[in-house]
Symmetry: C2
Subunit: 423 residues, 2 copies
């Protein structure tokens, strides 16, 4: 029993931490509770109940299944639900009328066939990507309403009455949902997406900087505090945020103008930017594996390149940060061209340094310089020395190459984003 209590306790602790970490989740819960209580009480207090009838149950159900964390998702579900119910209702009444006209015997056959065909077709439509993205929920509701209405077995005139009532209760439910989710501490999917992208950009810039400084400072400090480690791992968030970005962009499309965003804000551009950021993060991942690799370059060679590498990384991350700022302010920055130019210059310099590296470093400081001999005549001793100088010449290349790849990729991405973001 004690273990059970402990388990429950840790579970509650975790839940509490979650709530403290993101109070908006708690607010969302309270909003759901509120909406549901309002609907329930409307239903519970009989006098009000008369007009809407027994169907008020549908209002409760609508609130429960439609209320989502952000406005876009709620709107998407509401509109889908209303449209799906309406379409299915009309169709079902039509099928029902045909069935009753065709006599007792054929009635169940016609109804059954109609349900089978339409349910199959609607289910299939859910597999089509464009439909899935926008009308998935609507299709479910369509199937549900159609089969419920067409098998209800009422006469057509009563059916129309019922359909009318049900639609009106659903509209009551959805409008309550929309009102509460839009007015009480709204969470806009678009804003979330915007925040996610800009925050990811900052993380990317931080982990790029962190990688380079970690790589070149590793000799001095082995402190590796959690803070910097966390910064370094920031690019992982970028790698993993694809699904979130897509669903957010999907919901954001349904949202009306809010804050700095218009109704037809180009949400798809965010996805493109996200994809380029992931491309970039792949490179940082490769770079990171260099840091953790076993064969490290000797320090004196690292020093030789550290300045220019720091320059490249800080210039690149400045470009990313400036882009994040551009997206935040939605204004074309005047500084961006300058920053990209500076980054390009730094990359060019790094490339030149790399080219001149083997010559300039063949005489490494600690061992006395030995001009390499033609291979055929090498004595074992000089050969060994050569391998030393060779590793000295090659190893830093091994370590630095990803930087060049990264930098050139960054340029490509930066220029591409530059073209894209002219909102």
């Amino acid at each position: 029993i004690e273990r059970l209590v402990l388990k429950v306790w840790t579970f509650l602790k975790k839940a509490w931490d979650l709530g403290v970490a993101d109070p908006r989740k708690v607010i969302h819960c309270l909003k759901v509770g509120m909406a549901l209580t309002v609907v329930s009480l409307v239903y519970y207090l009989r006098p009000l109940n008369e007009g809407v009838g027994k169907n008020a149950m549908w209002a409760v159900m609508t609130v429960v299944v439609v209320f989502e964390n952000n406005v876009g998702a709620s709107l998407y579900k509401c509109l889908n639900r209303v449209t799906g119910t309406f379409l299915a209702g009309v169709l079902a009444v039509g099928v029902h009328w045909v069935a009753t006209q065709s006599g007792e015997k054929f009635e169940p056959i016609i109804v059954g066939a109609a349900v089978f065909l339409l349910a199959s077709a609607a289910t299939f439509s859910r597999f089509i990507p464009t439909v899935k993205a926008r009308f998935d929920y609507g299709a479910v509701i369509f199937i549900l309403t159609f089969s419920l209405v067409s098998v209800s077995g009422y006469r057509v005139d009563k059916l129309i009455d019922m359909a009318h009532q049900r639609l009106s209760t659903i509209i009551i439910g959805t409008s309550l949902c929309i009102l509460i989710s839009m007015l009480v501490c709204p969470i806009w999917a678009g804003q979330e997406l915007d925040l996610l992208i800009t925050r990811n950009m900052d993380k990317l810039a931080n982990s790029l900087d962190g990688c380079i400084s970690e790589y070149f400072d590793s000799s001095e400090d082995a402190v590796d505090d959690e803070e910097s480690q966390k910064k370094l791992q920031g690019y992982r968030c970028v790698l993993n945020s694809k699904a979130t970005e897509e669903s957010m962009a999907n919901f954001a499309r349904w949202e009306p103008a809010h804050g700095r965003f218009n109704f037809r804000h180009p949400w798809k551009q965010y996805l493109k930017i996200g994809a380029s950021m992931r491309n970039c993060a792949y490179c940082i991942e490769a770079l990171n594996s260099c840091i953790n690799s076993e064969n490290q370059a000797p320090d004196y060679i690292k020093k030789h390149l550290s300045d220019i590498c720091f320059r490249v990384s800080s210039n690149s991350s400045n470009v990313i940060r400036e882009l994040a700022l551009m997206i935040k302010t939605m204004r074309k920055s005047t500084k961006i061209d300058f920053l990209v130019g500076e980054m390009n210059i730094a990359v060019q310099e790094l490339q030149n340094d790399l080219k001149s590296l083997p010559t300039s470093l063949l005489p490494p400081p600690p061992p006395p310089p030995s001009p390499p001999l033609p291979e055929a005549e090498t004595t074992p001793e000089s050969k060994q020395r050569e391998t030393i100088s060779n590793t000295a010449a090659t190893v830093p290349l091994i370590e630095v190459i990803p930087l060049v790849t990264l930098a050139s990729l960054l340029i490509e991405i930066a220029t591409r984003i530059e073209g894209i973001v002219d909102t």
Copy 2:
């Protein structure tokens, strides 16, 4: 109008292609249609209807919302639905009883407060990751049932009767769903996951091979047929399959023993393998950017390394393929240790080749060999020549390095997977 017809036509064409590409989707749709028709007709034909009562509507609804593409998802939803309904029903009856005992005036207050509290709490629980993974749908159903029952305003004894009926209809619906989804052409989430992972492994191996051959053959053929290009891009599937893997593993947990899989098959291992595969795919992504980069090594240097690179890549991809086979047959392969050993030897050789490269290639075949002089005394002419030989010495390193990274990563991954997969 013509454009509209054309649009509808292309849409239908797309849908048809989708159906042809994956006939199981069509079968799933027919299954849904079948289940729904059976339930509807049961409801439609009055005589059978008496026992289950008006609540039969709930059976239809259950079928619509519970029936999913694979068995695991259906089971998950069914169990969640039944449990959620049952728990909520019991709680709601309790709350209702308390409310009726406390008199007319407090009744709505108590009911309202209970709905508010429980709805908020259940909504909040949906944010907790472990609950979200396993009981998300159950929480929704809990809220729904609780608010419906507690505000229904019936007397307690009638309520119990109703709850009993509703639960029984839901059980009828769910068992029909489970039967149809498990007996008629079942699609098991576990099997799908297994297939996805092994297929992704093959794709990874193919695109690794493709990358290397593309890189070293690029001089000869510019045919770039679609087939090989598609193979090359296979690693992108690996990068993008994270969400699918996770949901599949989540559903697979609910499935009973089927085919080669036991009930408590270690599905989580698949996720780990998937993660290591993604790590590997990041490297291939970096490698791929080398292929498309502008500065390519001269051919004679490529030739020098092509043999060993081919060896490394084919050995690595053999290891991956063998791992895929191991997962497919679920048997520890005797060959795997041998293959890993061979791969390690190849990697070691490649590293040695790289180390000896600058010396052995300083005299490039086309220009006459010139032994590099100490820097201070270089004439402009010799300096230029040196840069040539230097670029010759450095550029192939730039291109080959990711291979080494990749190979060493592969080893790491391979050994890790080796440890994991002993199912």
